[in-house]
């Protein structure tokens, strides 16, 4: 609420009832007709006066640009590069040499220093493989060891099938003779099944050997 002292006629005019389209308006400004707009500032156009507005006006920007038009590349003076008064000086040559060295040194490190990085291990590598790594790395895999020499995939499958669905069977075989190396990995779909398999198969007599079955340990990489 604001109090103002005004002349009699002005005060009297304040008491007039509203008419026309404002006939039904309540006292005080009607928000449909009267809005307080955003702050605007007068942009003063002299070099000395700082304008209040945070943004530069177009004219001020142009003025600023004009001042930078003529800049020597060597000494940053107010003249063109070919007209530079220090064209033939040693100072300039040293400056140029200095500026060239550090950037090259920095660049070499990056380019020749690194070994070949395979695409899968570069940054921004493929997404799907990392997902499947996750799948395999978790505790759904069991390792069966002390398998006899003539164990085959079919035997392994018969051994683990009753415990539940599995996503992968891997039997380690010798490349040349195709004999079993003695161990295998089974990736179950459900951890409960994997746990049951371990419980039942560990110490189980299969062929003439006693099996060792345990959770597959993650690789030491």
């Amino acid at each position: 609420m604001e109090k103002r002292i005004v002349s009699k006629t002005i005060a009297q005019r304040k008491t007039w009832p509203k008419f026309g389209d404002s006939h039904n308006d309540k006292p005080g400004p009607n928000p449909a007709t009267t809005i307080v707009a955003e702050d605007v500032y007068m942009q003063f156009i002299t070099n000395k006066e700082d304008s209040d507005k945070p943004d530069d006006s177009g004219i001020n920007k142009l003025k600023g640009m004009d001042q930078n038009v003529m800049k020597c590349r060597n000494c940053k003076g107010d003249h063109w590069t070919t007209k530079c008064p220090y064209k033939d000086s040693l100072v300039l040559a040293n400056k140029a040499a200095e500026e060239k060295k550090p950037p090259i040194g920095g660049m070499e490190k990056k380019e020749t220093g690194g070994k070949y990085v395979p695409p899968s291990l570069r940054e921004g590598a493929k997404n799907t493989d990392s997902m499947s790594h996750q799948r395999r790395d978790d505790t759904l895999a069991i390792r069966i060891s002390n398998l006899s020499e003539n164990t085959q995939e079919a035997d392994l499958e018969d051994l683990v099938k009753p415990f539940g669905p599995y996503s992968k069977l891997y039997l380690a075989k010798d490349k040349n003779t195709n004999c079993c190396k003695g161990f295998a990995y089974v990736h179950f779909k459900f951890r409960a099944d994997a746990a049951k398999a371990i419980e039942m198969l560990d110490g189980f007599g299969y062929d003439h050997l006693i099996l060792n079955v345990d959770w597959s340990k993650p690789s030491q990489n």
């Binding site: 026309g20 404002s22 009607n30 007709t33 009267t34 707009a37 955003e38 156009i45």
Partner: protein, 326 residues
């Protein structure tokens, strides 16, 4: 400063004026109803409903009793300021383009457009008694204009003369008693859009389509100053307390797309009265500014634009502290 945005009109604003004491702001637009607002908080007092055409011009008498508006519906109407009721109506032969109450309030002058075989004419009427017989009274004076039509009008000193601005850029002084042309000034090269007096009525500023505004002496039409911009000036006003003038303009809406890469130049520009140099700009309008007016105490100003908004700005402290270095 936080300007008040007054949104009472649906079409472009044609003219805005403060009353003598400055507490009321009147606005007319191409929609058919002039509005009146309290200038302090932007509260609308009312609208004057009755015209059936674009309202081109308005004026308020010295005591804020009567409000006069001229429109494209061939009428000049006089209304009661307090109640908004129409008191008198004069039917003319073509659109009423300009109007002004005399300083004393006893007379009013208005002009009609050149249209449909009727020439542009200046009418002076008696406004002491405004009632239903108002329209039947003969005008005190009727001056036909044979060359370019009148685009803005002001009363001269002591209500003895009338100043007119024309579509070809000339400014003329007419004697009221005889109806003769006393003086002519041919400074502008294109249409004079608006003329406003300074506070003591010794000078007036004209805003013209030739991208300049000029300051003239009110008695002898001597050209005093020129304020140059790059776009048509639609309106100009002189500050009553400082040596500043404000110019409002901008291209016509249809020219905007065909010229210049900047999105229209819709700001009011402040010039120093004496040095003719621009020192400030206030942005905000979404379209060309058609009318500007200073509050009689000089502490605020308003602008009405093609966008239909009237913006009332109250000056910051920085405006008063601004010193033009010379």
């Amino acid at each position: 400063m936080k300007p008040l945005m007054l949104h009472g009109h649906e079409r472009a604003i044609t003219q805005i004026k403060y009353n003598r004491e400055g507490d009321l702001l009147f606005s007319s637009a191409k929609d058919h109803s002039p509005n009146v607002w309290y200038s302090l908080n932007g509260e609308r007092l009312g609208t004057f409903n009755g015209h059936s055409g674009a309202v081109w011009t308005l004026d308020i008498d010295w005591q804020t009793r009567f409000f006069m508006s001229g429109a494209a519906d061939f009428t000049l109407r006089i209304w009661d300021c307090s109640t908004g009721t129409q008191l008198g109506n004069i039917v003319t032969r073509s659109s009423v383009r300009t109007c002004a109450f005399s300083y004393s309030g006893n007379m009013a002058v208005f002009t009609t457009d050149k249209a449909m075989g009727h020439p542009c004419e200046i009418f002076v009427v008696d406004t002491r008694n405004i009632d239903s017989s108002f329209s039947d009274n003969d005008p005190i004076m009727r001056i036909p204009i044979s060359d370019s039509k009148v685009t803005s009008i002001l009363w001269g000193a002591l209500d003895e003369t009338i100043l007119t601005g024309h579509e070809d850029g000339t400014v003329k002084i007419w004697d009221l008693q005889s109806g003769k042309e006393l003086a002519k000034a041919r400074e502008h090269t294109n249409s004079v859009n608006d003329m406003q007096m300074n506070k003591d009525q010794s000078m007036f500023i004209t805003a013209s389509k030739d991208n300049t505004a000029r300051l003239f002496d009110a008695n002898n039409l001597m050209a005093l100053k020129v304020y140059k911009t790059e776009r048509p000036v639609n309106s100009a006003a002189i500050s009553p307390i400082l040596d500043h003038v404000v110019l409002g303009g901008g291209q016509e809406a249809m020219d905007v797309t065909t010229t210049s890469t900047r999105i229209g130049k819709f700001d009011s520009r402040f010039f120093h009265l004496v040095f003719e140099e621009e020192f400030g700009r206030v942005k905000g309008h979404f379209g060309p500014i058609n009318s500007v007016a200073f509050h009689p105490d000089g502490k605020s100003y308003s602008s009405g634009g093609e966008d239909g908004y009237v913006r009332v700005h109250t000056f910051d402290q920085s405006y008063y502290e601004f010193n033009f270095d010379y």
